[in-house]
Symmetry: C2
Subunit: 195 residues, 2 copies
Amino acid sequence: MARVKTDEKLEEILEAASQAFAAKDFHQVLIDEIAEVGGIGKGTVYRYFRTKEDLYFATILRGLDRLHELLSAPQPHEVSPVRRLERIAREMLAFFWNQQSLLMLLYRDERNLSTRRGGLRERHDRIMKLVQQAIVEGIERREFRGVDPFVAAELFLGMVRGINLFRRDGDAIEALVAEIVGVFTTGIARTEGAR
Amino acid sequence: MARVKTDEKLEEILEAASQAFAAKDFHQVLIDEIAEVGGIGKGTVYRYFRTKEDLYFATILRGLDRLHELLSAPQPHEVSPVRRLERIAREMLAFFWNQQSLLMLLYRDERNLSTRRGGLRERHDRIMKLVQQAIVEGIERREFRGVDPFVAAELFLGMVRGINLFRRDGDAIEALVAEIVGVFTTGIARTEGAR
DNA sequence: ATACTGAAACTGACCGGTCAGTACCGTATT
DNA sequence: AATACGGTACTGACCGGTCAGTTTCAGTAT
């Protein structure tokens, strides 16, 4: 089989599917629609994916992989844990801003995340691990207190996801990043002095 | 006349629907299934709800109303903002622990939350407002710094929702509450001298 | 008590639209 | 020549919604 060609076609399908699934619900998206938008024959879609569900999960995996790639791209200099967290928050917000509701898609239904297709949970954990690493390093550097990195990562990601981007301006992101990391590190309590 | 009877039937339907929708996706849930579980004729369901969607939203509204009721039940004494937040976190975690994944259902797809049926967004905001009130009061009491209450409430609720209860023990909740409120108020940064 | 009545509540077999998946063909690519 | 493709027409399972028939029950008569 022609490798390069095939991969291109696969990419086209996934791209069209991403757009569709990012905008609408699984059941609202029609394969016919994906095919049309992508300029692809419906039969071809089924040459690459056995079922609609397969395509759906492949789309999610691709999204998570892209996000992970963004988040783990090498940094210019060695940066502090706080900066790392800022970057994660920034990249994620921007990513979800662009991908519209792909977020919902990715983090909807944690049950599926755990029980269904292989690879999903693994991908999710890999992103979570990036946050945990930053937290662990912060603890080691004695910048953070000795929190449970797992729980803390959950809380941090929860905050990022808690932001409802839907009716926000695109350039509100930077302020939101500051707010998230601010609250996460020093909280909202008024404790300017030592405590 | 047979009002009591009728209301009972309605309640039965909503209860069966809640269980079904809490466990599965909208499209995975069949009306036949709800009818069977509830020991109700399928036609009867349609006597009370015009469409499946109507039933679905009624179920969500009922869930949100119950949660709101729990959260706004009168407190024995006047309590501090931090205690209020603790209580909100506790009640919500317990609620979602019991209702299994009703959480997903409630907070899935913020887009629908905003554009679709009346009452939904309003209900959501009402719960959000409880958090905001606690934060505002904390600011007024000068216990909290002057954060934007709206954003802060989003972050707080994000944290609560960020916790994945799915594979956790039921009595881990109290520790999680402490963690959430701890991070939210004082952050994870290592303050001078403490711990 | 018992039987009757009509209306409302209820039921579940059935209908019909929708779409995932398939079949096929004429064309393009290798 | 062989394979992949776009496009389109087709099939059939699936499930939301319907409705003709059944049950329930308050009221009334016997």
